[in-house]
Subunit: 140 residues, 2 copies
DNA sequence: AGTATAGTGTTATAATATAACAAATTTTTA
DNA sequence: TAAAAATTTGTTATATTATAACACTATACT
């Protein structure tokens, strides 16, 4: 049994379960208040679980939002290579799985030829649904 | 005289000046403690200046560090299209100016064909100087 | 069984960021 | 140039996000 298949601890399961249930990214203190009934009482319990889940790639941190979202790509690399699109209007986040873009990022070298271990890319725009709403509003 | 050439306010100048003096990104409260002698007394004065400087593209926020760094690319776009390399070891940040990469990012569309307004990309690795130090250490 | 590693529960506190409001300054427009 | 609008300031208080430290428990490894 290799390390990666080791099962999650109680708190890790509770936190992951809550994050996976949510379509949108969730904030640490929102997780806390929502899992208190399950026996998680204090911030460190949440943050420890988050740290571990991030480390093993089950979730990602959305840096521009201080929020956390379940990984949508089963074999997401660690150290992390993540790409998200983020709606400026409703703040919904989608994880992007685009092989061509991944290749461009993986192959990138800086001026010194440095190879990077990982990256995080966040695209910002207006999602389809919000764009439609905006069009609706200009009609009236 | 267009809007972009309008001069900065007193606090904005003080904050920008401090950020530009630093090779590494700086934190908001470090800015605060370093400019108190210039008459900036409280966090909102710093954060307001930061917000404005970010908006006009004079500085960028390094999302993974909660820190702020002067723009090294004179004509950096707003809304922002930023690429950084970040050393995991010394946390030094370099702004990357790579036309080919910029083009790849600019041309990217998601599955729905959405065009994005901006993006932020952070690469993580070990900088040349830190890599050399590591090699030195393994010699002994 | 014994040791090492990882996880738990808890309290306190650090670090980062914003709300709200009155006053002053600068820019725009009439 | 005077009035109106927009921006910036100074200030106090508070919200939000995250970690330190410590004693203890559970699990995995040899
Ligand atoms: Zn993922
Ligand atoms: Zn949206
Ligand atoms: Zn820039
Ligand atoms: Zn370094």
């Amino acid at each position: 049994m290799n390390k990666k298949s080791k099962s999650l601890s109680k708190n890790q399961k509770i936190v992951l379960d809550f994050i996976q249930k949510n379509k949108k990214p969730v904030k640490a203190y929102s997780i806390l208040s929502n899992v208190q009934k399950k026996g998680i009482n204090a911030p460190p319990q949440v943050y420890r679980a988050l740290d571990k889940l991030i480390k093993i790639g089950k979730i990602h941190r959305v840096e521009s939002q201080n929020s956390f979202v379940a990984c949508k790509i089963s074999n997401c690399d660690t150290p992390h290579k993540t790409v998200f699109s983020i709606c400026n209007s409703c703040e919904i986040v989608s994880e992007i799985n685009d092989p061509k873009l991944f290749k461009n990022l993986k192959d990138f070298r800086d001026k010194d030829g440095t190879v990077f271990d990982g990256y995080n890319l966040e695209f910002f725009g207006t999602c389809k649904s919000c764009k439609n709403k905006q069009i609706e509003n200009t009609k009236h």
